[in-house]
Symmetry: C2
Subunit: 598 residues, 2 copies
Amino acid sequence: MWHYSPPLRDWRFVIDDVLQAPAAWAAMPALAHCDADTAALVLAEAGKFTAEVLAPLNGPGDVQGCQWTAGEVRTPDGYAQAYQAFVDGGWPALAAPEDAGGQGLPHLLNAALNEMLASANHGWTMYPGLLQGAMDCLYAHATGTLRERYLPKVVSGEWLSTMCLTEPQAGSDLGLIRTRAVPLPGTAGSAEPAYALSGTKIFISGGEHDLTPNIVHLVLARLDNPAHGPAPVGTRGLTLFVCPKLLPDGSRNGVHCDGIEHKMGIKGSATCVMRFDGATGWMLGEPHRGLAAMFLMMNSARLHVGLQGLGHLEVATQNALRYAQERLQSRAPARPAEVPAAGVDPVSFHPAVRRTLWRLKARTEAGRVLAAWAAQALDEQHGHTDAAVRDEAGHRAALLTPIIKALLTDLGHHGADEALGVWGGHGYLRDWGIEQVVRDSRVSMIYEGTNQIQAQDLLLRKVLVDGGVRLASLLAWASAQCEGSVHAPAARSSLQLVGEAATQLKADAANDGELPFRAADAWLMALGEALLACAWARMDAVASQVLAAGEGNASLLQAKQATARFQFTHLAGEVPRWLSEVAAARHAIEFLPDAVAG
Amino acid sequence: MWHYSPPLRDWRFVIDDVLQAPAAWAAMPALAHCDADTAALVLAEAGKFTAEVLAPLNGPGDVQGCQWTAGEVRTPDGYAQAYQAFVDGGWPALAAPEDAGGQGLPHLLNAALNEMLASANHGWTMYPGLLQGAMDCLYAHATGTLRERYLPKVVSGEWLSTMCLTEPQAGSDLGLIRTRAVPLPGTAGSAEPAYALSGTKIFISGGEHDLTPNIVHLVLARLDNPAHGPAPVGTRGLTLFVCPKLLPDGSRNGVHCDGIEHKMGIKGSATCVMRFDGATGWMLGEPHRGLAAMFLMMNSARLHVGLQGLGHLEVATQNALRYAQERLQSRAPARPAEVPAAGVDPVSFHPAVRRTLWRLKARTEAGRVLAAWAAQALDEQHGHTDAAVRDEAGHRAALLTPIIKALLTDLGHHGADEALGVWGGHGYLRDWGIEQVVRDSRVSMIYEGTNQIQAQDLLLRKVLVDGGVRLASLLAWASAQCEGSVHAPAARSSLQLVGEAATQLKADAANDGELPFRAADAWLMALGEALLACAWARMDAVASQVLAAGEGNASLLQAKQATARFQFTHLAGEVPRWLSEVAAARHAIEFLPDAVAG
């Protein structure tokens, strides 16, 4: 009953018409080898793989889950074969640079792939989920034999990788990390000084599994080496290490999986407790600079988590639509002119369901444009020939990343939760698939930095610190996207209000240092909603233009125009709603008296 | 780690101070036997039973679930013993009339009991969940031997009961029910004419289990008896039957459990597919008047479902509070004056978490007042000596019931989902308990009439039909509750805006018959939020009064005042937000083009 149809038509509309990406690629030497036809081919293949190989494993993997026995983890039936097909298809290397053995394709196509992976099977996708980040990290920091030994295997996907940050006492606060690294005697003077890592890491996705023979752990630890001076306390005293499951001689390293978690969702993904028991590791990057090195992984990971939210929205939307069109229940108060009255109507005719369906559709398609904008900014940041454009694109990507992570995972989870209602009581049953999406999607709001942390990152570290320069640049860019739509004035007015709110917050924060922390969540959502409105203005403009030229798929383009109309009527309250929360945040929030817990 | 502390102090504040219920009981003959001390005793015992007997079974029951084997259902370990303790404690009969063998205690105390049951163990609570409704139904409609045979057993809880409405093709639309009842030959002239029932019912909570020897099914079916004329099509042609698992002679009736559902939550509750295979049943009430008879069950069931939402909110809130006060993570931007600065603070100091905790607290405590108001209205409706007061109370209960069902289940699920974030990644793990509440609470938004159906019931059947008389009466009553609080003007202004929106909807509906269907959900939420504001104005007024008199628990009362301040600053945007959605509903929602599903 549950199905997944890759949104190929929609992605092509975004890439070709909304972003006009092929023309942009042609102007970037590193991406000039990719054109619209290549993109269409990659999308079609990605759609085929996700729909045919991954989607059928989604429900069964949730029911079966992972099995832990004496340190070994067995993934659900079919996961290993699917992973082999993923590697054989060259998917891990899609956006990796060609000089690292990758295909050097645009991040934009990688974004489409990641959305499809999450739609089809979020649990499975956790295993290769960190490959891109690990690749980026090794590409930037690994040298010598370390690079030779690990980069190609990670790029090809032959070995999977993890990101070992969290410890029981150190979640959002990585400054509390206690895992230690001490120099291994006898290797200090060598070309490859090694360290012994000791400590416990939790929430390690794919810390142990049966998909690849080796697993490359990237581990944050406190360096305990007199030669490098004392490790500063807090996050400034962390160093990054590469610590493989199997040592270069093939023997087992001192890395142990002590158990896996029982979770609300993504049950096919092994979330491991990892014990490093004097495990051998090698430093990646500079001593005490581990967090900066790791942030390379985290930013790419954050965009991908945002794409998970989009994937959840997409698959919930398309299934809700189909069910609502097939399920007959009660007579609707109105029906399309061409449909004769009957005793019962499809639930898609009922006003409350109709609103839900349009809302899901409006959020999904605008969220896709938002994510595509960020991916295109990454492509420009790395590949544009003009340094000023590269710079501006980099700033845009930096601002868009936390918005996409927080906004799209929020819409993904709450959208799936709302979609469940379309099935009525059936939505609550495992058989129909939607309840799994609700469970799976909740974690995306938490990991890779909770959505609250994204909001602080955006407002406190990126918006209020530079005199508003980067924000102004983003708003101007977004405003330009609205050109040519009847909805441009509404979208631009939203942008302006959000910009003014930031100016006001900056001014008020002078007398109330806590204010930005209280206002950050709502302000991020306000900006995110304003950008979704811009995405609809842009899609509307493009659809009108293509229709006027008598080109394109008329029914698709007319549906875009209709959805834009829905956005600017039924969703027009979103930006004001969040801005009213920003205004409310100017009131203090008292500390909770002990009495309330008694 | 998960815990449940019954909110006894808070319920006593609501009963004694906010509602001044003991004085009201004293004036009602049927309730005069209940005073403040009796109430306190009942609350304390209910708290003890729920916290000590039911809460420990909640997590394990979720993991173990129910087992179906060849038509028999095994409930999780400990469920049967807990049910026996429930019966021994006299809990099923709490609010049943004394002439039916009940204790005749106020619905208000029954409401407190039901909140606690849901907080402690929603899954288990499903089994006795329909006893009250079945009791009401049998009390009102069963006569002769039918009454003698079934009413006492149901009142005592010796036999459990079900409500068999839904069929595969008939969910929200009961007019599509196909189960048939034909006269059993040879019984037509007898004192007890019997019928043979045939059909399949789904989503039957407790349709089969191992808690009681017999199960009393109340079944909606189409009567096929020439003596009563043809059954009209739709909901007007349904008749209610009593159909027990065991026949009076002890033999097995033709009622079979063909399977149980795998659900998102409430896994300890057996949700059964029931096949009636020529099962013997007896008519309850009049032919073709089954839905009206059943609605007696449904209204009481709807209030109880609203109380489930409250129970979810309460237990999520108290656990989030405790975790947030114990978990140390990161340095907060500010801390209470008396707390020295440290490297890490409890997460309860962090602004985003602080806001979540206050929001949960504000919603829980006002939701409790709202539910208590409805329960008190039921008590007055049935027991007041003045017919005019009974009438007005009945109308108030009729309006409050759908609001409480929809609003509190919405706040319960979304509140639990928000609370999960307080635990960060730990919230996603089964171990911490909160993810179960998120899963369990989702169903309360769906069953006993989806929240969309509640909204239509409220706006279309109760508000727009009588010239606004009942709504005006409710608003005047709610406005009077605000007396004596500094927040009264704000709360009253919200009431007025919601009332004006209804007037406007009525006027606009003349030219747009579908408008009320589009606006109903948001309008219900707006009215619900306005009533929550009134509840806070009332609590603030009471707290100020008791404090001024130098009485009461000062820290509790000051916390009430502080929460009222939070309500009227940080939650002041809720009514405008929903009214803006009501306004947006004036725009048409187009029918979805087939293209969007392609």
